[in-house]
């Protein structure tokens, strides 16, 4: 236990202090690490729906909802990014709850298929959103996060006054740490047990008095909240959003990060996202063979480690386990 806490602290120090210090001037490296962090956050949301036994290929839809919420609020209404961020999460969670209520009755491949169509439906909705979403033009010139002051003290300086890449790295890192903490806590408290009971047998769960519909919507909406937050982050860091910013392939990637990282572990999606995304970037030099090599590596991994990368080293621990 003490060893694990120590390992977590060392990891945290590396992630929050050493890496940003060493690479502070390297825009490219900071950029891909930032992206990997936020992709991890989205995938953690997908993992939550895996926890209740549903394969979710619709996460891009909720990232779009979050992204457009931030874009519209900040450009058209001049709302500060720091308010847009939670608002985007809540908007995505709300949409998730409304859509999730009926579709979560479906299981297995049927649920997966309908969430896949959500990814495409969200893109079409953004494309045909008229003046609200500005169609294919997208929403551009989204302002960078401004400063946060409280009682005259500057808590967060305006991003344009800082090393922007470093600032976004820190924002992404803090969001990911908070997200990972939240999901770890959920998985270890009785809420996590309830989710696991739903995955193993919904009828039995109902027979012991679990409100099955309520808890599966809760898990799904939480997952959508993560997507909304991440969508808002990408929108403001790229200062633009288009209907094609998040699409079906992204949803498939988020799901794959969970699979390849290891569904049994809370940290599975994070490991999956970092290894796969950074791996893809490192293969950049192969140019036209990049995708081919990447695909071959992915297939090999699935064959060799069907339970994910983490099954390689970590023995299954009852406390951490979310049961594959």
């Amino acid at each position: 236990m003490r060893l694990r806490v120590a390992a977590a602290l060392v990891g945290l120090a590396l992630y929050l202090v050493v890496v940003p210090f060493v690479f502070r001037e390297s825009r490219y490296l900071l950029g891909i690490l930032t992206t990997a962090s936020v992709l991890s956050l989205i995938s953690l949301g997908v993992w939550l729906t895996f926890a209740i036994g549903r394969i979710n290929i619709g996460q891009a839809a909720f990232a779009l909802v979050g992204g457009y919420t931030t874009a519209i609020l900040s450009v058209k209404l001049g709302v500060s990014f720091w308010l847009c961020l939670p608002a985007s999460g809540l908007a995505a969670a709300l949409v998730g709850a409304v859509i999730g209520w009926p579709i979560l009755r479906l299981k297995g491949v049927y649920f997966a298929m309908i969430t896949l169509t959500l990814s495409e439906a969200a893109r079409l909705a953004a494309l045909n959103g008229g003046t609200i979403t500005q169609g294919a033009t997208g929403i551009l010139n989204i302002p960078l996060p401004g400063e946060v002051t409280f009682a005259g003290v500057v808590l967060v300086p305006a991003f344009r006054a800082l090393n922007v890449h470093l600032a976004f790295y820190y924002l992404a890192a803090i969001l990911l740490v908070l997200g990972l903490f939240t999901v770890t806590r959920i998985a270890s408290c009785r809420l996590g047990w309830i989710f696991r009971s739903l995955r193993q047998d919904e009828a039995l769960a109902a027979s012991i008095g679990v409100n099955v519909a309520k808890y599966r919507v809760l898990a799904f909406a939480l997952g959508c909240f993560f997507a909304g937050i991440a969508g808002a982050f990408f929108t403001v860091s790229q200062q633009s959003i288009y209907p094609s910013s998040f699409g079906v392939p992204d949803s498939v990637y988020f799901m794959l990060y969970c699979f390849l990282g290891g569904l049994s572990y809370v940290s599975g999606p994070v490991v999956g996202a970092f290894v796969l995304f950074l791996g893809f970037e490192l293969l950049h030099g192969l140019r036209e063979y990049q995708m081919l090599t990447y695909a071959a590596i992915m297939i090999t991994m699935m064959l060799w480690l069907p339970n994910g990368l983490l099954s390689l080293r970590l023995p299954a621990r009852p406390g951490m386990k979310a049961d594959a």
Partner: protein, 258 residues
């Protein structure tokens, strides 16, 4: 005292009437068995009572209150709890975890409370664990409580299914074939356990094919055939009932001479 009344309960699947205007009462603290040939509608009847299937017509009244049409988890919350025909348990949890999670409806903490691990959540946890230990002990499962459920032998799994139901603190417990796949010794032990549960004041509805167990355990028996109730009485009355014998063995057909 009547604890549960079933009035004209009916279920149609297309043209098939699986349960046809079944009416009966269950008295508090008795073992009431429901028997009948395969396909007579026994399990369907259980699913209708516990709202796992929507009914076509009829009513279920529990302690003077109509419970037909409530969601399954709300029926369980009222105190009407079922077990499942197969060994339905949470396979990827330990036996202890299975029973602890089954205390869910006694939990007072909200989802947020669980997340924050409030005092109420911790108290719940401790209560559940103590109660789960007691239930497992009663059903003779203490030794295997840390085993992952899917590794347990069949007899233990059936007992675990009952342990899960007991954790819900039922007033009426519906046992769906609890003795199937058991050898005579295991059945005898389980019969004693079911008696013990009844002696705690729980009313038991039992669907079972093992006639020896049914006759020993039941206070009253209801016989279904093709979804219809054909007899109702004490084990002795049922054993001598013409209609029941006919349903089980068939009638000699004089014309054909067999």
């Amino acid at each position: 005292m009547i604890v549960m009344e079933v009035r004209d309960l009916t279920k149609r699947f297309g043209g098939l009437v699986a349960v046809d205007h079944v009416t009966f009462e269950a008295n508090e603290g008795e073992v009431l068995s429901i028997i009948g040939p395969n396909g007579a509608g026994k399990s369907t009847l259980f699913k209708l009572i516990t709202s796992f299937l929507p009914r076509t017509a009829g009513r279920v009244i529990f302690q003077g209150e109509e419970i037909t049409g409530l969601s399954a988890h709300l029926v369980a919350r009222k105190g009407v709890v079922r077990t499942f025909q197969e060994t339905t348990i949470f396979k990827e949890m330990s036996a202890l975890e299975n029973v602890v999670i089954a205390h869910h409806l006694r939990g007072r903490a909200t989802p947020v409370g669980l997340f924050l691990n409030t005092r109420v959540a911790r108290q719940d946890e401790a209560t559940f664990r103590d109660s789960a230990d007691e239930i497992l002990d009663y059903l003779g499962l203490s030794r295997v409580k840390h085993e992952e459920a899917r590794h347990l032998p069949h007899g233990h799994l059936r007992a675990l299914g009952i342990a899960i139901a007991m954790a819900c603190d039922p007033k009426v417990l519906l046992l769906d074939e609890p003795f199937s796949g058991m050898n005579p010794e295991e059945t005898d032990r389980m019969v004693e356990m079911v008696r013990g549960i009844r002696d705690r004041g729980v009313t038991i509805l039992l669907v079972e094919h093992d006639m020896r167990a049914v006759m020993r355990l039941s206070d009253r028996i209801i016989v279904l055939n093709f979804g219809r109730k054909i007899a109702d009485g004490t084990p002795r009355e049922i054993q001598n009932d013409e209609a029941v014998i006919e349903a089980y063995i068939g009638r000699e057909d004089d014309e054909l001479g067999i």
